[in-house]
């Protein structure tokens, strides 16, 4: 179980796991040897609401960093999530087909999207944020959204 950075905006508690990297758009990348597990952050899942459908790129798909890795549908929004890494999709979370809400319930654990066999992790990593940097960015975004409501 990772540790979390945590902040509260109004009644919403947002967590950022401290053991992985992040894109500015809220997709996390967890290193597992030469493979990278990918998912959406707690902020992204809370902001967009309960996931009704998720379409995830299939096994064997070649991806560049920035390519769409998943399309998420909620009653609030249709969200396209971009892969933070380049490589080939090695595994797809089977829960995404029938129970994508697992990404709402456990965004940093059981709610993972895909595992990518990375092609150039050191190169991709340089474009990503460490947990503290993402936390600060996310906090700002959350506070801005709270002001709009």
């Amino acid at each position: 179980m990772p540790d979390y950075l945590e902040t509260t905006v109004d009644k919403f508690i947002f967590k950022v796991a401290t053991d992985r990297y992040y894109s500015a758009e809220g997709v996390w990348a967890l290193v597992e040897g030469d493979r990278i597990r990918i998912g959406m952050t707690d902020f992204v899942q809370q902001r967009n609401g309960d996931i009704t459908f998720a379409v995830v790129r299939s096994e064997g798909t070649a991806l560049e960093a920035g390519d769409e890795v998943a399309a998420i549908e909620t009653i609030k929004a249709n969200v396209s999530l971009a892969s933070p890494v380049s490589g080939t999709v090695a595994e797809v979370n089977p829960a995404m087909e029938m129970s994508p809400e697992v990404a709402n319930q456990d965004p940093y654990g059981e709610g993972w999207l895909v595992v990518v066999q990375a092609r150039d992790w050191p190169g991709d990593r340089d474009s990503l944020l460490d947990p503290r940097a993402y936390f600060e960015l996310m906090k700002g975004q959350a506070e801005e959204e709270a002001k709009k409501l």
Partner: protein
């Protein structure tokens, strides 16, 4: 110095399904939340609140909350008091309707004309209360408004610097083998350290007094919380002294 959390007011509506007044509470709350005071209010979902929603309960502990109930069973007000703290204000639709000599609302799914009137009346009352609460200083210790010139109140503890920035930080603490979330604890620690209070038995008691304002503590648990707070504050203090 980081900005303090923006003051907002929580609204918890009973949404009771069995009476038209329950539907009135729901529509009135939504009217205030979406139209009348949209930037100043936050909805607290009662079922989630009852089922243990941590964010909703923490919000209702830290911010003034208005309970809007349909009838004198006052489920929203009682739930708020049970899980967070006494609501800053309580509106009961059946009382309000009586007070204004309106006919009783009818229709649980589609309110009749009296029901619509009751919605407007309730929404107006709640909006007025929101304004009062945002203008006034609500003391959680006394459960009432305090005068502006009152001497140091527990709210001063909120004026601490906070390393995590704005928002209401929550810290999970082991209390006698159980993990408990304590609202505002990091802020309270920062305030104490800022006031030059080194860890010790006396300081632990002071911490307990402040923590109690924001977090309902089970009866008979003071000793366990004292031990936990003393330990956590000592660890926090040492880390800060070591520059971590």
């Amino acid at each position: 110095m980081p900005d303090l959390p923006q003051r907002k007011v929580g609204i918890v509506a009973c949404s009771g399904e069995e009476l038209a007044e329950g539907t009135v509470t729901r529509l009135a709350a939504l009217r205030v939340l979406e139209q009348l005071r949209s930037g100043d209010t936050v909805t607290i979902c009662l079922p989630l609140f009852l089922a243990g929603g941590e964010g909703d309960r923490a919000f209702a502990r830290f911010y003034p909350t208005i309970a809007v109930d349909g009838c004198d069973k006052r489920c929203a007000a009682r739930a708020t008091e049970l899980y967070s703290g006494k609501p800053a204000a309580s509106v009961v639709v059946s009382d309000l309707v009586s007070e204004h000599g309106l006919r009783r609302p009818e229709g649980t799914r589609r309110l009749n004309a009296s029901g619509q009137q009751a919605v407007e009346l309730t929404a107006g009352r709640v909006a007025g209360l929101v304004d009062q609460l945002l203008d006034g200083q609500w003391s959680r210790r006394s459960g009432s408004f305090v005068k502006a010139e009152a001497t140091a109140q527990p709210e001063d503890a909120v004026q601490a610097t906070c390393s995590c920035g704005s928002g209401i930080p929550i810290q999970k603490v082991d209390v006698d083998g159980r993990t408990v979330s304590l609202v505002a604890l990091p802020l309270i620690f920062e305030q104490f350290r800022g006031d030059g209070k080194a860890p010790g038995a006396d300081v632990a008691k002071q911490l307990l007094d402040i923590v109690r304002i924001y977090n309902p503590l089970p009866a008979g648990s003071d000793e366990a919380y004292l031990t936990a707070l003393a330990r956590e504050y000592a660890a926090f203090y040492s880390q800060k002294e070591a520059g971590l």
